[in-house]
Symmetry: C2
Subunit: 336 residues, 2 copies
């Protein structure tokens, strides 16, 4: 069997099994519609630490340890940890895995990181390079606001197109054997930049990247949009998701019936005042490791296309007047 | 043949070939001892751009395009680009590859990034997931000073243990077939943090990670230190390299005869006032893609252990009083 599939996809010969997942989230996520799918909801946004950055690393450690524990494994059975986050120099992940003593690949795909971690993790399993890997991604609302926007104390007004960064770490364990849904294919995204410069509308900046990788996925695998029970994008939110449906329609695909977005699912936008919806690396990661994995296991979804999306900019590039490059990675997960 | 080798290494069944490499550097690197091995030396630290960040992205684009051109390939034959840098949210790489229209995996391993990019790139080739990939890493002196230290205009005095961030992008093309040295094995590093907090002495923070991965490599492959003609670490510089030799001696390995460091080789510390030596993701990347690849091709080195090293901290973690986690990835490259 040919592993390379079309121009930018891989179909796995030995589809890796998602044998466990863990989602550790903050208080606001614990008040949202997906609360019952999360493993641990902290009532303390600081997770007992003294800074937001330390809080994120603590979530990362907890999420990974819990996923490994739920897989009935010990940490030393994990061949690789692949993880990333939004903080400068990825310190949420680095400091989070510091005590775990495992070989580590640090990733940066902005909010598409969970897709990247699952893609590379699946390659490591499928290729026989590892028996077990952990793929993880995290974000922290306060850490992200501090990194990208304004001091929280300022209490600035938010734009209606702005997302709300999820506080959470999602971690999954991929294995060569076991019970669970399997990663059957991946499509790796390209940087797509349509010139959007509004940092308060990242859904619009990322939607073209999601459309691009989705079209590539369908084309490479020779399937149509209705092959999947659900197509779940990363964190386009309400604004970006509408754009995505329009962009896909232009390409001749109707995804209006079977697509949704982690940023839409994770919060009740009206009751929780989260505007365009959830965002951040943690948004798609906890939705995957909690909610979507549950639905796959219960066979409520049997064929899922998971497409975390990322806005690959920084404060410096935005201040220099640069546009926001979008990224998205597609991961096909199926009950077999 | 078993791909997994020992606790944290891989021995490749189909060792990927380094079919080309390109190094694009700034003016200071062009005045150093390795100048003749670099493909392009810019006399303009801005590379014709209007900011240091844009300059870095321009280097990235040039380096990757040149490596692909030297391999007699077109960009669309490259299945994946794997790259990373030191800037917040890895924008040096993202904006650099934006126009190249290739599937992209963004990485963060601080100055160990070239080791990570070559490790994952080699897995993609060995496993049959790609015929050609580009592995690249970059840094820019001015961008790094701005990100991590003080405004250049301040003209602050530098500590004798401080490194000098290399301005450069190093890119290599890995292929399943062709002429050139081959990546025969990799050992993936763990985060090693010995509690060093001095951001002006990153050699000391990284040396234990280099020692840890080197010992793991020798142990996993069942070889001794003299198996390699040369062991070349990433950017420990003069201070870190001395520590590494001492740490390895404690572990029972004598690497005093056959080891050196990219940070030592790239500058003439006395004449160029570069203190502890070169550093930054670009340091090991351009030394590999330029100088070391040349030596391998000329058979002046036949067995090389390349170990880029990284300090996985940020300004925020340093200001919060955290220590500096070290990282190192070992890549064995041999003429076969």
């Amino acid at each position: 069997m040919q592993k390379q599939c079309g121009a930018q996809s891989i179909k796995f010969e030995n589809p890796p099994v998602i044998i466990s997942g863990a989602a550790v989230v903050g208080p606001k996520e614990g008040e949202g519609p997906l609360a019952k799918y999360f493993d641990e909801i902290s009532s303390d946004i600081l997770f007992g630490q003294s800074s937001w950055e330390q809080a994120e690393s603590e979530m990362v450690r907890k999420g990974i340890e819990l996923a490994v524990q739920k897989a009935n494994l010990t940490m030393d059975q994990i061949r690789y940890i692949l993880a990333g986050d939004l903080l400068n120099q990825g310190t949420g992940s680095t400091f989070g895995v510091r005590s775990l003593n495992r070989p580590f690949f640090g990733l940066f795909g902005a909010c598409s990181t969970m897709g990247e971690a699952m893609s590379l993790g699946s390659i490591l399993i499928d290729g026989g390079y590892a028996d077990y890997v952990v793929s993880a991604a995290s974000s922290h609302f306060c850490g992200a606001e501090k990194t990208f926007r304004f001091p929280l104390e300022l209490g600035g007004q938010r734009a209606p197109t702005a997302g709300w960064t999820v506080t959470g770490d999602g971690a999954i364990v991929l294995a060569k054997e076991g019970d669970g849904p399997r990663v059957t294919a991946i499509t790796t995204g390209k940087i797509i930049d349509m010139g959007i410069k509004d940092v308060n509308n990242m859904g619009a900046a990322m939607a073209p990247a999601a459309a691009d990788v989705m079209v590539a996925h369908f084309r490479d695998l020779g399937i149509s949009a209705d092959y999947y029970d659900q197509i779940v994008t990363g964190d386009l939110g309400h604004v970006g998701s509408e754009l995505l449906i329009q962009l896909m329609e232009k390409e001749g695909y109707d995804v209006s019936k079977n697509s949704t977005d982690c940023g839409i699912e994770i919060f009740d936008a009206t009751k929780q005042n989260t505007l365009a919806g959830g965002s951040g690396c943690g948004c798609s990661a906890v939705t995957m490791a909690g909610y979507l994995l549950h639905k796959l296991r219960k066979k409520e979804i049997n064929k899922l296309l998971f497409i975390p999306t990322g806005a690959m900019h920084s404060v410096v590039t935005a201040q220099q007047g640069e546009s926001i490059p979008g990224m998205a990675h597609a991961v096909a997960i199926e009950n077999m």
